[in-house]
Structures are given as C-alpha cells and as structure tokens.
C-alpha cells in the first residue's frame, strides 16, 4: 500500500515539475516581450518552488526501494527531474536578463513576437462573452490553441486556475502558436 502511495506522489511531483518548468519558460519569454519586471520576479519565485520540489522528488525516487529491480527506470526518472529543473533554471536566467537591464534590446521583444510560439495579451471588454465565465467554461485552449499564462487584474497578477472567474478589464496573457492569435483575440473581445 505504501508503495502505491509513493508512486502516486512521485508521479504528482514530476507532473508538477514538468508543468511548472514549462510555465516558467512561457512567463520568462512573456517578461521579455512585455519588458515586465513583475513577471520576471514571478518566474524567480517559481524557481524557488521548483528547487524545493525537485529535491523532494529526488528523495522520494531514491527511497522507493520497493522498485529496486527497476533501478534503470528510477535513474531515468531522476534524469527527467533534472531536465525539468534545468529548464526552470534557464527560465529564471531569462527573467534575470529582464531584471538586470535598464533597457532591453528591442530585438528580444521582436523575437518573441515573431517566433512560432508567441505571446499575446488582450483586455476583456465589457461586452466580452467571457465575462462572468470561469476559465474552464471559457475553453480558451480548446477554442484557440492558446494557453492562458497569467491574468493581470488591476495591479495584481492572478494565476489562471480553472475556477477563476473572468472580469471586465482583466488583461489575459496567453501563449501558443501564432495561428491561434486571431481566434484568441476574437474569443476574448467577442463580436464588436
């Protein structure tokens, strides 16, 4: 029984490491595009979380002695964890570029804008069909192929939990393939 629980925990930790490291890259690139120190700082905060989680994950894998006949598989898991941690590191170093420079070189913003995966931000107007819907109900990734990274509400950055209800004036920041950009804008802005 204990073993199943350990495996469940290892799985959850690795899912979180992978998702968080990828979100950090998206946020770091967004910070470059928007020249936003706040987003950059958010990335650095996540980096701390990833470091702790990664240590916890490695300890768990090492302690899962029930699976000693599969040591190669366990090594594979540990290496996979290391990779997510390295991605998170790269993301925080990108964030540091934003925090270090008084003025970002304009090329950096252009690169993010013109890459295949891009970042787009749209403000929710009062007549948007999404007002009052939860993110889950808004089905942004399903409809547009873009993922919501973060929402700016007033002076705060809000994490995009599925239950979060969209309000007028929210700035929705999403990343995804450039082809989804127009759909994303249309979905958030609604028919004009």
């Amino acid at each position: 029984m204990a073993d199943i629980q350990v495996f469940e925990k290892i799985t959850n930790d690795l899912v979180e490491l992978k998702d968080t490291s990828e979100m950090m890259m998206d946020l770091a690139y967004s910070a470059l595009l928007l020249n936003s120190r706040e987003l950059a700082e958010e990335v650095l905060m996540l980096e701390d979380q990833v470091d702790n989680l990664h240590t916890e994950f490695e300890l768990l894998v090492l302690s899962s002695s029930a699976d000693l006949e599969n040591t190669r598989g366990l090594l594979g898991l540990i290496r996979m964890g290391v990779v997510t941690e390295r991605i998170a590191d790269a993301a925080s170093e990108i964030a540091e570029v934003v925090l270090r420079s008084e003025e970002l070189h304009p090329i950096l913003g252009m690169v993010i804008q013109d890459a295949e995966e891009t970042v787009e931000r749209v403000e929710v107007p009062h007549n948007s069909p999404l007002v009052g819907m939860s993110l889950k109900e808004a089905r942004i990734p399903e409809e547009t192929g873009m993922w919501v990274l973060v929402i700016r509400r007033g002076n705060r950055w809000v994490k995009p939990k599925p239950s979060l209800v969209i309000k007028v004036g929210d700035m929705v920041i999403a990343s995804g393939y450039a082809e989804g950009e127009d759909d994303f804008k249309q979905l958030v802005r609604g028919p004009n």
Partner: protein, 200 residues
C-alpha cells in the same frame, strides 16, 4: 572521438537567428519528451541532430553580436541578447539529455507514461487511415493549431521521419506525433481514423 568542427563566421540576421534558436529549442523539448514517452530512438536521434545545429547557431549568433556592438551601451544591451541565445541552447541541452535517456537505454519507468497523461500538454501518436480527411493535405493547410489546438511535431512515413512538417502532403499510413490539448488530440484521432468529415 567526437568530431568538433571549426565554425566559420557567417553574416546572419541576429533577429532571424535568435528566432530560429528559440523555435528549435522548443521543438527539441517536444521531440525529446515524445521520444521518452514512446521510447523511440529515431525521434531521440533527431533531437541529437538538432542539438548539433544549435551548437553551431549559438557560435554564429555570438560572432554577429560581437561585430554589432559599436559602443558601451550596445555592448550592455547586446550582452542580454547573447545571454538569451545561450539560454535557448541550455534548453536544447536539456532536451538532448532526455534523448540520451532513450538512446542509452537508461530506462523509461512506467511512471513516465502516467506523468504524460496528467500534464497540461499532451502528446499522441496518430495513425492516418485510408479514408481520413487528413490525407492528401499539407500540415499547413490543415491549420490544426487554429482549428483544434494541436501541433504536429513529426511525421513517420515508413522508416523515414519528417520533423516539423509544413508543406509535406500527408498520406494514408503516416504516423503523426502531435502535441496539444487532450480534447484537440481526440478530435485529431477521429479525423485520422476517417470518422470525421470536418475539423474544428
């Protein structure tokens, strides 16, 4: 012995090169995770090839940046550009490490499959049937990203792999490696089976 070649200066657009590096690094991560999930060495080898390309690109980028700096201010702001370039290279190194797990038979634990089912972005292998609406069309024409929120990262035809196909015409029996939302991938599978006459 590894074959390390001298890299010659080539004049390139810094912007285009950095865009290429960002795109390649992200493609490499997708390919590397796919190679781990499907325990597929051919995909892992593609990652290694792209890794070589990235190593060259980072040199060429830096050479061009050095020549672009005219004064102190340039140097300061271009150092940030160089840093971002080298970080996309770090990402590609991380992808190569995943590919290494596959190529060196280190072992893919059953947990890995479970992990990929629970992460936000999903990966799938999709086989195209005779009567699928996908066959006969190019990946670009299908506009899968816009229609169903799915991206094709590779196509296997027989023994041959096409990485990041755009203009290639899809054929029955092709196997797609796709990335996207769970729902989008389900729709893609239906279309590939020939169960759907319309996408999106």
């Amino acid at each position: 012995m590894t074959d390390v070649e001298r890299i010659e200066y080539t004049p390139v657009s810094v912007r285009e090169t950095l865009i290429m590096m960002k795109d390649i690094s992200e493609l490499m991560i997708d390919l590397a995770y796919s190679s781990a999930l499907f325990n597929n060495k051919a995909l892992a080898e593609e990652v290694m090839e792209l890794e070589d390309k990235m190593d060259t690109l980072v040199y060429i980028l830096n050479m061009n940046l050095m020549l672009a700096a005219r004064d102190k201010n340039d140097a300061e702001s271009l150092a940030g550009v160089a840093k971002v370039g080298s970080l996309t290279n770090n990402i590609s190194d991380a992808a190569a490490d995943i590919a290494g797990i596959v190529l060196k038979d280190i072992g893919i634990h059953p947990i890995v499959r479970e992990v990929f089912q629970r992460t936000e972005e999903h990966l799938a292998r999709v086989w195209i049937s005779q009567d699928s609406i996908l066959s006969g069309k190019t990946v670009d024409d299908l506009e899968l990203a816009a229609e169903v929120g799915v991206d094709i990262i590779a196509v296997r035809r027989g023994r041959h792999w096409m990485i990041k196909p755009e203009k290639e015409i899809l054929m029955p029996d092709d196997v797609l490696v796709a990335r996207g939302t769970e729902e989008g991938l389900k729709e893609l599978v239906k279309a590939a089976k020939g169960e759907e006459s319309d996408l999106g």
